[in-house]
């Protein structure tokens, strides 16, 4: 099998505005750099497992739960919390708890930025009222760590509908551990307005019990994205969307048949793509492996008319190994060691479909899904069943 482009799989090389891929045909390694854009700073979990801020245009290789690293690609999001780290600020109301700063945090940017909450009653909590939200799903997250007797106890988020937003108060429980963990919960108001966010740590305590906290975030969306620090911006701080793409040389991609292997980490199960091969001038011309309506699909739409084959494989959050094989009259989709969809392809190849986008379908200023990319490889052959199954077997 002629492997014409490789990116990732632990071989990451990045610089500002660029991510390196390579062609390894015949043992000759030729660079094939991807363009990378993100107009703002962002945070990433580094090799040491600590949160670290990187500058505009710098690709993020994230090591959260992955020792080989993965290219983190995210949509635009805004942290609506005004003081995400200053829990001693009067912005945060406190009940039954004292707050002490200067403790070791999970952040390389702010090593002593954590706060210790010490219970002064058996019902300690901090909260913030008057948070302006829309009627779309809101997700709250915070880093927490149990100390001593609080380890193993339950804490909770309370989406407290005591403002002008419509909705039913929702309690989202989590268990405190001896390690830092990022806990999150989501709620969907029935109408926009103000809500309160309350964090009970732990939910039932004894006087003197302690919990460490760091980095609170409230964002519009169904899952927590990477942490966005704030320090007094009442309208929040926005991280801009990431995009990584490459216009492929014709020597790499110019006709049927071709195959693409992609290993991605799905974070938003609503809709998304593992990658796309796109005509950047006409964004309705593409090949992709995508998911929507809860299942994976393989799609050929190189000239506008769409040909799509659905699998019956349900999409949940987690890591997937996929191979798509496109030939002049057929398409096949493999997932995690099995052929999950196959059928005919009547779409003629379009040489203007020449850009490879990692982890997403299109480049635009939207808030649509980007999936974290562990590896993407392009082949200028139709992989055999045996090759595709071997590549995708977990």
């Amino acid at each position: 099998m002629a492997n014409t482009l490789n990116v990732g799989n632990g071989n990451w090389a990045t610089k500002e505005d660029s991510l390196l891929a390579y062609n390894s045909e015949n043992g000759n390694f030729k660079p094939l750099p991807f363009d990378f854009t993100r107009a703002s700073s962002a945070t990433v979990v580094n090799k040491a497992g600590l949160i670290e801020t990187v500058g505009s245009g710098e690709p993020r290789i994230d090591f959260l739960g992955n020792t080989k690293g993965a290219l983190k690609l995210e949509p635009q999001r805004t942290n609506l919390i005004t003081y995400s780290e200053a829990f001693d600020n009067s912005y945060w109301s406190k009940s039954g708890v004292s707050v002490v700063g200067g403790f070791a945090s999970p952040s390389a940017d702010s090593p002593l930025g954590a706060f210790k909450l010490v219970a002064t009653t058996n019902d300690p909590y901090i909260y913030k009222t008057g948070l302006n939200v829309t009627a779309n799903t809101q997700t709250a997250s915070i880093y927490v760590k149990g100390v001593g007797s609080s380890i193993g106890k339950e804490g909770r988020f309370l989406f407290w509908y005591i403002g002008t937003a419509g909705g039913t108060t929702l309690s989202v429980p989590f268990t405190l551990t001896s390690d830092w963990q990022r806990v999150q919960g989501s709620s969907t108001p029935t109408s926009g307005g103000t809500i309160a966010l309350r964090i009970d740590l732990p939910d039932v305590s004894v006087v003197g019990e302690e919990v460490l906290i760091y980095g609170a975030q409230l964002e519009e969306g169904s899952y927590a994205t990477s942490y966005i620090p704030t320090s007094g911006q009442s309208g929040g701080v926005t991280r801009v969307q990431d995009t990584s793409s490459q216009t492929l040389p014709s020597s790499v991609f110019n006709s049927y048949p071709f195959s693409v292997f992609a290993e991605v980490d799905v974070v938003d199960t609503n809709t998304g793509s593992a990658f796309s091969l796109l005509n950047q001038a006409i964004s309705t011309n593409y090949f992709t492996i995508e998911y929507f309506s809860n299942v994976w699909h393989i799609t050929a739409r190189p000239n506008g008319a769409i040909e799509r084959i659905a699998s019956t494989s349900t999409v949940t959050k987690g890591t997937y190994k996929l191979v798509g094989v496109w030939e002049s009259t057929s398409m096949k989709l493999y997932l995690n060691g099995s052929l999950i969809a196959s059928g005919s392809n009547s779409q003629s190849f379009n040489i203007n479909v020449d850009s490879l986008l990692l982890g997403q379908l299109r480049i635009s200023g939207d808030t649509g899904t980007r999936n974290t990319v562990i590896q993407t490889d392009l082949y200028n052959t139709a992989l055999t069943d045996a090759e595709a199954i071997a590549l995708t077997t977990i």
Binding site: N132, A196, V237, T238, S364
Partner: protein, 109 residues
């Protein structure tokens, strides 16, 4: 890239200006932007904070701006896009919202 801050008479007016920046329809008929700018709806921003009692209940409502506010990070624009200049406002410092790691004064359009 440049940062602009804007206020419109209503959300609907703001959304029509954003739509004019470029949209297309996907295969399912859903509209998506074709531009590469980043637009943040700040909405009716709080001009004067409300008051809340110890239970978190609102005792005095916040005073909100009658205008609909938008912050924009323009990807490839040196000036305001057509129809945006007259809605532009200037603020001290970064104002109430910022783009992570970007100073408004250094990137002001």
């Amino acid at each position: 890239m440049k940062i602009g801050k804007y206020q419109f008479d209503s959300r609907e007016v703001a959304e029509s200006k954003i739509k004019a920046l470029g949209t297309a329809e996907d295969e399912d008929g859903n509209e998506y932007p074709t531009h590469k700018h980043t637009l943040v709806h700040l909405g009716h921003i709080v001009l004067e904070a409300g008051d809340y009692d110890e239970e978190g209940e609102e005792t005095k409502a916040p005073v909100l701006s009658a205008k609909w506010h938008i912050d924009a990070l323009w990807a490839d624009e040196e000036g305001h896009p057509y129809g945006w200049a007259t809605k532009s406002v200037e603020v001290d410092g970064d104002g109430m919202h910022s783009f992570f790691g970007l100073s408004y004064n250094s990137h002001k359009i």
